[in-house]
């Protein structure tokens, strides 16, 4: 069936329903038949006799039975809730057989990424005081904690088992987050950040791995909304800035280019900020400007978009700007 069948039927119905004279109904009549108003009136004006739709409550109840709602989360965890929703949508859409395909991460399969997120959520939940049976030592790095959980769950690697474990960890973390202050500082895998910061980091990796699985399974996942990608980008820029003076430069020696970059992330959820680059941390005004799409920047940070493929505008000291772009993928982990 062609995609325009309905439109052709609607057009036929409209033409057939109009008076026989040359005076076709006013434009407003046709406009009411068309779909552009955000909320359509009940029934289709000009096509009388159509029944009204079923009550919304019943439809929502049936919908919830087909796809569980995201657990209630505090406002600061909004990006995490959205990323969990995206991941759940991908798991619903993916052919389970595709989860045996290799992922872009280490030697893991796409299915292993589900367990990886299970481990990461459970680790943060455990740090926040939630009880879990999973072997998630608070100081374990992401690869170690994931391998520990992969070993622990080795007997249940079917897609349904992995998904159930993942959802259990979502609920565990959600419950823990509802009890915690967003600004409280906690140490997870050797990194001290606020609870809100850790949650945004979990959101970031959840989106990236949802995208990994979608790409590996030939599904098309839309980019996150502005209120989801924005906090992720903000976290990435702050972590990048915090690296200045603490780690060797990304593309050259510790004595490599240093300076402050005026970074502009464009598009919905974008932001403008200053990021220091190099060691020692340089003082003073920006010496370079970088402008790049916010989604592309996040993919660069996640090591999913090579610098060579990045559409970026650079001005000023290009060595310092390139240093920032070379440093960004160093933030990525499993």
């Amino acid at each position: 069936m062609a995609d325009d069948d309905y439109e052709s039927m609607l057009l036929a119905a409209y033409v057939q329903a109009t008076p026989a004279s040359d005076d076709l109904p006013d434009i407003a009549e046709l406009a009411r038949l068309l779909p552009r108003s955000p909320v359509r009136p009940p029934g289709l004006p000009g096509l009388p006799g159509l029944p009204g739709p079923p009550p919304l409550d019943g439809v929502l109840a049936a919908a919830r039975a087909g796809r569980r709602p995201i657990p209630v989360l505090p406002t600061f965890a909004t990006p995490f809730a959205a990323a969990v929703g995206m991941f759940d949508t991908v798991l619903t859409g993916v052919d389970p057989a595709r989860l045996d395909r290799p992922s872009p991460v280490l030697d893991w399969t796409l299915g292993d990424l589900v367990t990886h997120l299970t481990a990461e959520y459970a680790q943060l939940a455990a740090v926040l005081g939630a009880p879990t049976d999973l072997p998630v030592a608070p100081a374990a790095d992401p690869e170690s904690v994931t391998r520990a959980v992969l070993d622990w769950t080795a007997a249940e690697t079917g897609p349904a088992d992995r998904r159930r474990r993942w959802w259990d960890s979502v609920e565990l973390l959600a419950a823990a987050l509802r009890e915690r202050d967003r600004l409280g500082l906690v140490d997870v895998a050797g990194r001290r950040m606020s609870v809100a910061g850790h949650v945004v980091a979990r959101a970031f990796e959840t989106w990236i791995h949802a995208r990994d699985i979608a790409l590996g399974a030939d599904l098309r996942l839309p980019d996150p909304a502005a209120d989801v990608i924005g906090p992720m980008a903000d976290l990435a820029t702050r972590v990048l800035d915090g690296l200045a003076g603490t780690v060797p430069s990304g593309s050259s020696s510790p004595a490599g280019p240093a300076g402050t970059v005026a970074l502009t992330l464009t598009g919905p959820g974008g932001l403008s900020t200053l990021v220091r680059v190099g060691s020692p941390a340089p003082p003073g005004p920006p010496v370079a400007a970088v402008s790049v799409d916010v989604v592309a920047f996040c993919l660069l940070v996640a090591d999913r978009l090579p610098r060579a493929d990045l559409d970026v505008a650079v001005a000023g000291d290009t060595d310092v700007a390139e240093e920032l772009l070379a440093l960004a993928p160093m933030l990525s982990g499993p």
Partner: protein, 214 residues
């Protein structure tokens, strides 16, 4: 380690409307993109909004196929449950959400008719046991008639002069308002309206000649 990435946003985001003349590339409506994003992210409020916007349309399409109010409402519920469960099945770059929902409703309704037709062909005893309400289901020839109507409308649209054809395609197949059509084509709104009136008159005559007139 690197995946091959093609940023999804803003690249090749246009779609092409039907017809044999020059293609008219149109970006997907922002509202559709927003709804899609939020449905994918599990935002139940988005489902409520989409339902408010399109439930009447979906029910209407299903009713036109099924001719039964209760069945049309059942199909409507199925459509929106599917939207909630599998939002990745919709791609805003391939058409409007409205058209996709209408297509889903049409397909599900036709599927129901086909199931009913198969059930009618069961042995008489079995059919008699389950025949309540069967009279309300449309016969297969009604489905065929709808398909013929669709073909004739497409034929009529294709044969419109280009300026009229584009106006009809933008309005009916892409869901643009007259103001948006005027902006898209760089013409006054009044001209867009007059082109639409002229196109609809021609289509009405075309359908009448084919025996589908009013």
């Amino acid at each position: 380690m690197h995946a091959t990435i093609v940023p999804l946003r803003g690249v090749g985001a246009g779609v092409t409307v039907m017809g044999e003349g020059p293609a008219v590339a149109i970006a997907p409506p922002d509202q559709d993109v927003d709804w899609h994003l939020r449905l994918v992210a599990g935002d139940e409020a988005a489902l409520t909004e989409v339902y408010g916007a399109f439930a009447a349309l979906v029910t209407g399409v299903a009713f036109r196929v099924l001719g039964d109010r209760d069945l049309a409402r059942d199909v409507t519920q199925e459509v929106f449950v599917q939207v909630w469960r599998s939002p990745l099945a919709y791609d805003p770059d391939r058409g409007s959400l409205r058209a996709w929902l209408a297509l889903l409703a049409h397909r599900r309704a036709v599927d129901w008719v086909r199931r009913e037709e198969r059930r009618r062909r069961l042995p008489a005893a079995a059919a008699a046991a389950t025949a309540d309400g069967a009279e309300q289901a449309p016969a297969a020839d009604e489905i065929v008639e709808k398909a013929e109507t669709v073909d004739r409308v497409r034929h009529g649209v294709r044969n419109l002069p280009e300026s009229l054809r584009v106006a009809v395609e933008l309005a009916f197949y892409r869901g643009l308002t007259y103001r948006q059509i005027a902006v898209e084509l760089g013409i006054p709104e009044g001209t867009a309206k007059s082109r639409m009136r002229a196109a609809l008159r021609r289509l009405a005559r075309c359908l009448a000649d084919e025996g589908l007139g009013r």
